[in-house]
């Protein structure tokens, strides 16, 4: 009896999980199918498998629609911004987690409290600041904005993780002769890798897909990032759905690669065995 009940439970669980997977993955699969079909084919029947796989669309999008330019712009902006956020935020979080000084919690609270405000609020003033400093329509300006926007959440996540690392490790390193910076470099960074990987993935996805600030702060075509590039296929009277889908797929691939690379680190229990 209990065996039957258990099987039913398992079956129910599988049905729910399958339903959720289809719900989550369905649109992605649909777009990936559309990316291999032409726009007239899609217009005829949007929900079907490709009759012929138009792989050449990827080459067309890459070379003829300037996707290569947008792609490398996105790679540069995202990589530099994520790298800078990771280094600055991890150093900040290390200091806030490790050192007792007056105002420690206040600083953390102030950094975190900036998350309360929707980023759109700062848009106008940010636009003006960037224009004043000659950073409007530059990648550097966009990168600085991304760093500032992603900093609070990154500091908050990393501080939470770093503060749980045992103080004894740092005392041991101090006795071994390592300076504060070396402790950060040789202990906090490698041991904090699961948390850092989490923030890298979050920041990468967010900055890679970011549209609002990019569309306001970048004006030149050759400086566009991928989300702006895809927008090019939205015409006044025609939407090239097939090419949009191809563009979306090109933009998704790096995100998937980053996730595959860092997700293993994310789930690794690196601190297991550190204490007790």
């Amino acid at each position: 009896m209990s065996l039957i009940l258990r099987n039913w439970k398992r079956a129910l669980l599988m049905i729910i999980l399958s339903g959720y997977t289809a719900f989550a993955a369905g649109p992605f699969i649909w777009v990936s199918m559309m990316s291999l079909r032409t726009t007239p084919e899609i217009s005829d029947n949007p929900y079907t498998f490709p009759e012929a796989f138009h792989w050449e669309k990827y080459a067309v999008a890459w070379s003829e629609s300037d996707y290569s330019v947008y792609f490398w712009n996105s790679v540069m902006v995202t990589t530099i911004a994520v790298l800078a956020v990771t280094i600055i935020a991890s150093m900040t979080a290390h200091c806030l987690a490790r050192f007792r000084f007056p105002g420690n919690r206040l600083i953390l609270f102030m950094i975190f409290s900036t998350l309360i405000f929707p980023p759109q609020i700062v848009m106008i003033s940010l636009f003006q600041v960037l224009v004043n400093y000659g950073l409007f329509d530059t990648h550097l300006g966009l990168i600085l904005v991304y760093i500032a926007l992603q900093m609070p959440l990154t500091v908050f996540i990393l501080e939470g993780f770093f503060s749980r690392l045992p103080q004894d490790l740092y005392d041991a390193a101090k006795m071994d002769g390592y300076s504060n910076f070396e402790s950060y470099w040789r202990l906090t960074l490698p041991i904090g890798l699961p948390a850092i990987a989490t923030t890298v993935i979050l920041n990468f996805i967010h900055i890679w897909n970011e549209f609002l600030f990019a569309v306001v702060l970048i004006a030149s075509d050759e400086k566009r990032t991928l989300p702006l590039g895809i927008q090019k296929f939205y015409g006044d009277r025609l939407e090239d759905v097939g090419m949009i889908a191809t563009g979306v797929m090109i933009s998704v691939i790096p995100v998937i690669l980053i996730y595959i690379f860092f997700s293993e680190k994310m789930i690794q229990g690196m601190t297991a065995g550190a204490v007790k």
Binding site: P166, D168, L169, D171, M175, D176, I191, G273, A274, V275
Partner: protein, 372 residues
């Protein structure tokens, strides 16, 4: 090897009114194994961390080999420390954990390899050199932590409750291992614990700390037999010493302690040293093992025996501890008796204290009264 000397060393944490460590004076001899013993929060770990250089010294001076160390950073004190949590670097394997400190000190690579190999061999860690800490048992991690200290060949070893995370059996064997290593290395070692068994079995001297103050220093048995105050009397020994409020009276034989209608002649005491306390209340200390049970037929031969009602029986196999209630005594009195004791809960038995081994304490200062 080194002589460590604390001169009026105090510590006050920022924002705190009280001293965590209060004017400790202590000298640890070259090659000595000294145990800092005290309850949780008494300041013993703070004292150790000040010696290590992990905490600043608020007042007083710390000397190592005659050199003031107050402003010398931890890394330059040539001290190694074994932490309660082991503090092994989780992302490094055993070999790298052992070598980490040496690399920072720019020791040549071949020398590091040799020393790591030697220490690993000494502690039986050779098969585990490639493993990371999470793949080791508690005992193995403990040995790596010890190895990390030994490999540096420091002047002084500090241990901050290093056995408290081990199970009982492993604790005993590691205790012996540590004593063996001390004999082999001959280094100065300072060991912090709240476990009196560790203190008694490992320390050449014990230093007892309470509320940040040094209460007593001495060889273990001396501290056990001659506690300086009621705190040490209660803290050292399991079950702890019984402390009974009594009235000292002059008697024909010298002095006697009276509680209720019981009168205990204190024959071994020097009457001259107790004159100030005659007809005063003092605290009488009797160790549980200094009681013996008197059979009903022998009571008339033991006029100093008194009746106790058994409130609980702890039959431990090798011995039996009776928790008893005695007339005119506020607290329960513990008696450690022979394992063959047949006393049962609720029985009224007769017990007698060895009057040659009792202690007297001043009720106000709690200090022991020199009375022999």
């Amino acid at each position: 090897m080194a002589v460590v000397k604390l001169e009026n060393v105090s510590k006050r944490y920022p924002g705190s009114q009280e001293l965590a460590v209060d004017a400790i004076n202590l000298e640890i001899a070259d090659g000595e194994f000294l145990v800092l013993l005290g309850p949780s929060g008494c300041g013993k770990s703070t004292a150790l961390r000040m010696i290590a250089g992990l905490e600043s010294i608020t007042r007083g001076t710390l000397y190592i080999d005659g050199q003031a160390m107050n402003h010398i950073p931890a890394k330059d004190r040539d001290i190694a420390m074994v932490f309660q949590s082991y503090a092994l670097y989780p992302h490094m394997n055993v070999a790298n954990n052992l070598a980490f400190g040496l690399r920072r000190r720019k020791v040549p690579k071949d020398k590091i390899a040799r020393r790591v190999e030697n220490v690993a061999g000494m502690l039986g860690l050779t098969p585990f050199l490639g493993r990371k800490p999470h793949a080791l048992s508690g005992g193995q991690r403990q040995r790596v932590a010890l190895g990390r200290a030994i490999v540096r060949d420091p002047k002084v070893f500090l241990f901050d409750e290093p056995l408290s995370n081990l199970d009982a059996a492993l604790r005993v064997s590691t205790r012996n291992e540590l004593v063996k290593q001390h004999q082999r290395l001959g280094a100065t070692m300072i060991y912090v614990t709240h476990d009196q068994v560790e203190a008694m079995t490992m320390g050449q001297r014990i230093c007892i700390i309470n509320n940040g103050k040094l209460v007593q220093v001495g060889v273990p048995l001396q501290v056990y037999r001659e506690p300086a105050d009621t705190f040490v009397a209660k803290f050292l020994g399991n079950p702890p010493m019984n402390l009974i409020k009594v009235r000292l009276e002059a008697s024909a034989d010298g002095v006697a302690a009276r509680f209720g209608h019981h009168v205990l002649p204190l024959l071994a005491m020097d009457v001259a040293k107790l004159t100030a306390y005659i007809n005063q209340t003092v605290i009488l200390g009797i160790r549980p093992e200094d009681f013996s049970e008197i059979g009903p037929q022998d009571r008339h031969q033991h006029p100093n025996g008194f009746t106790a009602r058994v409130a609980a029986v702890e039959a431990l196999g090798a011995e039996t501890v009776l928790i008893t209630e005695i007339e005119a005594v506020d607290e329960v009195v513990r008696a450690r008796l022979d394992r063959d004791s047949t006393a049962r809960l609720g029985d009224e038995i007769c017990i007698e204290a060895d009057v040659n081994r009792v202690h007297l304490f001043d009720p106000e200062s709690s200090r022991a009264i020199a009375c022999r």
